[in-house]
Structures are given as C-alpha cells and as structure tokens.
Amino acid sequence: MAKGLDIKLIKNGKRLDGRDMEEMRPLKMELGVLDRADGSAAIELGETKVIAAVYGPTKLHPQHRQQPKKAVLSVRYQMLPFSTTDRCRPGPNRRSIEIGLVIKKALEPIIFLEEFPRADIQIEIEVIQANASTRVTGLTAASLALADAGIPMKGLISACAVGKIQDKLILDVAGAEDSYGGADFPIAMINGGDEITLLQLDGDLNQKEMKPALDLAQKGCKILFDQQKNVLKNTYKVGDQK
C-alpha cells in the first residue's frame, strides 16, 4: 500500500468512478442464496461480492468447547483464491484470522447467545470478488444470513467503510481509493444507530475529523440497514412493522 501518494482521486468534483463524495456504489442484497445452509445471504457492492452462510444453532462438538450458559459463535472469513487481482492462497492467513475475529466481536452483541446454551452458531463468509470493503460487506451479509436462519437477534448489523481522498471524507472506499487514499475506516453499527460494534482505522485522521467521519459512516450504515430491512420484508412478505 502506498497511501497518500500524489494521485488525483477527485476529478471535476467527482470520484474516479463518477460517484459523489457521500455516495455508495450500487448495492444488491439477496437472501437464501444457498440451499444447504440454515441461513444465507449474498451482497454485491459494486464489484465486491460476498456470500455468508449460517449453520446452527447445533450442539457444539467437542464437548469441552461448550459454554454452559450460551452459544459459541464462530466466524470464518475467507477470500476465494480468484477473488483478488493476484491469486491469494487458500486457507487461513494472519489477515483473515484477524478479520474473522473482529467480525465475530461485531456480531456477538446482537445475538441472543444465551438462548442456546452448549450450542454452536457457525458463520462462513466467502469473498467471491474483492474491490475493497470486503470485511464490512461480509459482516453486513452475515447479519442478514443470521436473520435468514431465524436466529433471534436484538437488531441488524450494517457496516461500511469511510475513506479520505484529497482531505475530503468519502463514503464506501473502492478501487484506487483503497490503494492511494488517505484512510480506510471500516465501521459497523446496530440498526444504523448510534452503537458501534466494529471499528478499525488505517490512515490519517485529524481529531476534528472523527465526528464527521462517524456521522458519514452512520449515513452509510443507515442506507445499508434500510436495504437489509427491505430485502427481509420482500423475502418474507411480512408487513413493514419496524
């Protein structure tokens, strides 16, 4: 990465892919894309495409890993070997292990784990194609897959990445903005609200930029949350009872 390099990422007031500063890429969500899993969802955010599946709750094996008062959540995040420009080797690596961990921590607050003592809830996230924002999109999809699996939850997690190019905050980092931009700030919120369950930062942020950056992330999370509600409503054909 060569963040901060002198490459013009804004031309004529637009980003390189023609978006406004606070505009997300085209977004598609689909539920139940897999038959075998207990719940599943696919999300396309521009060229980034992920699938998440949920298995469980099932009795956890081996027994010594069981928790007597709650379910154990496990999350595996993986990029397919052909999902990136240069082939990435299959199997876990340090990056994917860290991301699996922060996604797990981001989901734990919303799941009623205590309803399923000694059980296992297993989440599998496959990044099918990567053009930045894979961890946040994977997390958003995982939240939908949990809903699709009927796991009782306090809310939905919606997550997006705020960035910075030529000193302007932008929503939904993509392409050259990821390689040459000034910050990558992935954030997850509960129901597009005030509570943050995932937050990381790579880059350079003035302390005064923190509030606007969080506000912009919330704007993105709200867009995602609305679409999550829509796809759930349309799929299950229930009335809009927020």
Partner: protein, 265 residues
C-alpha cells in the same frame, strides 16, 4: 435437513423412479453461468446441478517451468470442500475427499491435453504462465465430480491471458493479450451403482447410498482420457463396458448443452 429413511430411497430406486421423480439415468437441471464474476478472475463459471452449486475460477500467474518441460505452462488445480457448502465439510487442510476431487478434475483436463501448454511459454526455461484452477463448492447436494469438472472446463473456456513484461517482471491484469488456447473440451460423467442399479447424478441423500462410482472423462472424439473408480463395492468387467456406453451418451447431451450457451463475455 430432515433425513429420509434409506430404505425408502432404495425401494424407489429399485422400482426405477427416484423420490424426486427422475428416472435412474436422468440428470437434474444443469445451469451454467460463465463469467459469474468477471473483474478479478481470468476465467470463471458457476455451475448448478440441482441444488449443488460449484464456483470455479481461473487466475493466471507467472513462474518457472518444470525442468523436464521447460517450454510449457503449468496447470494447478485445487478444490475446497469448505463448510459453507455442508456442515460436515470441516475447514482445514484439504482432506482425502477434496484432494481426490481436485486430482480427478485435473486428470481429465491434463490427459485430454485440453490446454495448449506450449502456448503458455513466455521464455523457455525462465518464465511460463501458471494456470491456477480453483474449485469452490458453495452448496452441496451430491454429484460434485461432474459439477466441478464441468465448471472447470467452462472457466478455462472463457479464460483470458493478461500481459506480462519480462523486464519488470510485472503482470498487467487490466490488459489481456489473448485467450487461453484450447485443443480439446473434455466432459466428465460419473456413473454410480446403488443396490445393483445404475444411477446418474445422485443428490446428497442418494450419494450416501452409493456402492461404487466410476468417473469417465470423454474427449470430443469419444475417446476416454481419464477414469477413476470410487466406492467400496467391486464392478465387473461387463458393468464397466455398460457404464462406459451410458456415460458416453450422457457426455454427448452435456456437450450439446455447452454448444448452446455463450461462454465468452
């Protein structure tokens, strides 16, 4: 998934009609989506056979050739039975089943001489294209062998070759120099025996009852370039000849289907 009693499935097969209404030798619907994703992989296909879904992608890389074939590119095939597709596929290093799957798919492609490996030579003894063929099972409902092999073939059919600069040793993935040169299109068909009956394309529940399986890879001229027997029951010589004929017929149906879809972007 509610488990259906095994004897119900077997009784039905004995009568010649399966629980989902298919005849014994009938495949489920096959859907082929070439270029399912098309930004990063050089070639790609999603294949659905019934509920089984297999995503295959091709990435090109550059590396040193093998010493005994200094002017030929190299195919490397991997398969992941990751737990997204079925809870019984635990993650971790590829196990027996995934290794067998990858190697059988690889063998069909390699032995048919599908890829013109000489055309992948960049500079003899120094640099050749590596073709990384990766098979990802997304949803498991039986018959992985045929779905994976079909996906692999389609992904290779739409594979493009990036440009490579020998001096800077850089691949430019944004600019393609041409398509992967193919000599052949092998089609793999796997016949199974369940309680003495020949069955094609089992779903996951039928797959558990398979006594033996035999995979054939057929070339365009009908010749066989790869075979693999599986399962713990013997097959007789006569049965092999019978399975060969029936599988050969099936391969023609799939070959026709392939002709009718647009594979390039």
């Amino acid at each position: 998934m509610m488990k259906i009693n095994k004897s119900v499935i077997i009784n039905s097969i004995q009568k010649g009609i399966r629980l989902d209404g298919r005849k014994l030798e009938e495949f489920r619907d096959i859907e082929i989506i070439p270029n399912y994703i098309n930004k990063n992989p050089e070639g790609c296909a999603l294949v659905k056979i019934g509920k089984t879904k297999v995503l295959v992608g091709v990435k090109m890389g550059v590396g040193k050739p093998y010493q005994d074939s200094p002017d030929e590119g190299v195919l490397m095939t991997g398969a992941e039975l990751s737990p997204i597709a079925a809870p019984e596929f635990e993650s971790g290093p590829p196990r027996e089943a995934a290794i067998e799957l990858a190697r059988v798919v690889d063998r069909g492609i390699r032995e048919s001489k599908m890829i013109n490996t000489k055309a992948l030579c960049i500079k003899e003894r120094e640099a050749v294209w590596l073709v990384f063929l990766d098979i990802q099972i997304l949803d498991y409902d039986g018959n992985l062998f045929d779905a994976a092999a079909l996906g692999a073939v389609v992904a290779l059919m739409n594979t493009k070759i990036p440009t490579y600069d020998l001096k800077t040793e850089k691949i430019d993935f944004e600019k393609y120099s041409g398509k992967l040169e193919l000599n052949e299109v092998p089609i793999s068909i796997t016949a199974r025996k369940i309680s003495g009956k020949i069955v094609f394309d089992p779903n996951a529940e039928e797959e558990e009852l398979v006594d033996s399986r035999l995979t054939f890879a057929f070339k365009e001229n009908g010749n066989i370039c790869a075979m693999q027997k599986g399962g713990s029951e013997p097959i007789t010589k006569d049965e092999i000849l019978d399975l060969m004929k029936k599988s050969s017929d099936q391969s023609k149906i799939i070959r026709k289907k392939l002709k009718n879809i647009k594979i390039d972007k």
